[in-house]
Symmetry: C2
Subunit: 245 residues, 2 copies
DNA sequence: CAAACATATTAGAGTTGTCTAACAGGAGGC
DNA sequence: GCCTCCTGTTAGACAACTCTAATATGTTTG
């Protein structure tokens, strides 16, 4: 007769429409084509066919030029999508410390692509932090830590013990490595575009690589990892803390 | 002449193709249509047009029936995508404690939808944990904590201080609430499908709601939040820890 | 060498989701 | 009552992505 809840596999776009309707109905008491179009940032002409599909799936009651109602199934599906949205947003903003607008945008985009298990583990983490006073402190600290402040000096995170701090200052950068040596990246220093550029090139903490050679004009370093060779300038290399193995 | 790196907006599918090629070339030294199709779980017939598009964008060199080569631009774009993939996977597996296969699948799916800033903050968190011995301990603890073990008794996380534990056992469930009272959810107990069902219905820690009435046959609770009414059975409500406000 | 096989490409069709532009319906103002 | 504005709908076009089935190419083997 009706499709069972388990059988319904909504596309990300339809999930988005459904969620938008849910939020509008919950907030304003009704959902109109115009508001849906505004919220989803599409033209009104795109909304009608989407509503027809949702109606065919039995998730909404959609009659031409009437307010849109959610069916029981539609409401429960929408609530699930929205719940995942909220988990993700709170995880990004409240836990990782991202600005609200970035957290909201990323939550919108990624919510359709994470498994139940992943969002559930995020909730576990919330609960864990709630249970452990130490965890709560530690995370408040993380978010306000020197590490996450733009332009902060490397290694100045106050949470580091003296020993960690000292061993950090003893640690070498890529510039201290000789050709042929294999190293393990422990940290990328700095902030902003330079750091982003290094991360984009795959130089993540906890990555191993080998210095193959130094190209003399400019002392560019050529390192090998993931089966490719990547060139790094001397000034960039100074921001890559490594352990030589 | 050529599109600049900034101007290129790859669709998720094309990003995936590019990343797959990068991984195959790095691993095997070459990339064939067949392997790309296998890795992406599509039919070979879908690969050729995708390669043509990547070629037109100047990201690969694609000549009929030849091995596929990455251009310099393609290689750097691919590395960026793959880098994000690795960050996300390590975040999910290493930090949240998800099983490797789930982490890999979710990383694959979500990597195209998160901003630079978000992945960068994840790296900050890695580095923070690396810097702070306490943070490292705490997270090892989180992952092995009773809280995250299937079937664990609620409130038995050893990291909780005695005070937290006691106040927890004093805390009320939804069943202790009277109609008209507003409450704040502090935790969802239990594990498995029941917990999932409650989370799917939007009952997340840190959510506020109002008990509107109790429907007598069966003592189902009707609560109001987000502008909707949701029905919760007595046995489900016993798993919802609340603070009455 | 030719047949058999693995691999790659193309053509055609279908789905989803978007747009624009033209059109329809309803509510309020004159 | 009629006109206008706001809103919603439809049709037609298009871009991405996928599939299947047919075809082409190259390699291995008898």
């Amino acid at each position: 007769m009706f499709a069972k809840s388990q059988e319904i596999h909504l596309t990300p776009a339809l999930e988005d429409y459904l969620e938008t309707i849910y939020r509008l109905v919950g907030q304003d008491g009704f959902a109109r084509v115009k508001d849906i179009a505004t919220a989803r940032m599409v033209k009104a002409g795109s909304v009608s066919p989407a509503l027809r599909r949702l109606d065919e799936l039995g998730l909404i009651v959609y009659e031409r030029r009437e307010f849109i109602k959610l069916t029981e199934l539609g409401e429960s599906l929408a609530r699930r999508v929205y719940s995942r949205h909220r988990i993700l947003r709170r995880f990004l903003a409240g836990f990782l410390g991202l600005p609200e607008d970035v957290a909201e945008a990323d939550a919108c985009a990624a919510e359709h692509h994470l498994s139940n298990m992943t969002t559930e583990y995020m909730v576990r983490l919330f609960e864990f932090i709630e249970m452990c006073p130490e965890a709560k402190e530690l995370f408040d600290h993380f978010r306000s830590c020197a590490l996450v402040q733009p332009g902060a000096e490397p290694g100045l995170c106050q949470c580091a013990t003296l020993e960690t701090y000292q061993s950090l200052s003893l640690r070498q950068t890529l510039n201290d490595v000789k050709p042929g040596q294999k190293v393990h990246i422990s940290r990328i220093l700095g902030d902003g575009p330079l750091r982003q550029k290094l991360l984009d090139r795959g130089l993540l903490p906890n990555t191993s690589l080998e210095l193959t050679r130094v190209e003399e004009p400019g002392r560019d370093l050529v390192v090998r990892f993931q089966g490719f060779e990547v060139k790094i300038s001397e000034s960039e290399a100074a921001h890559v803390l490594v352990e030589i193995s």
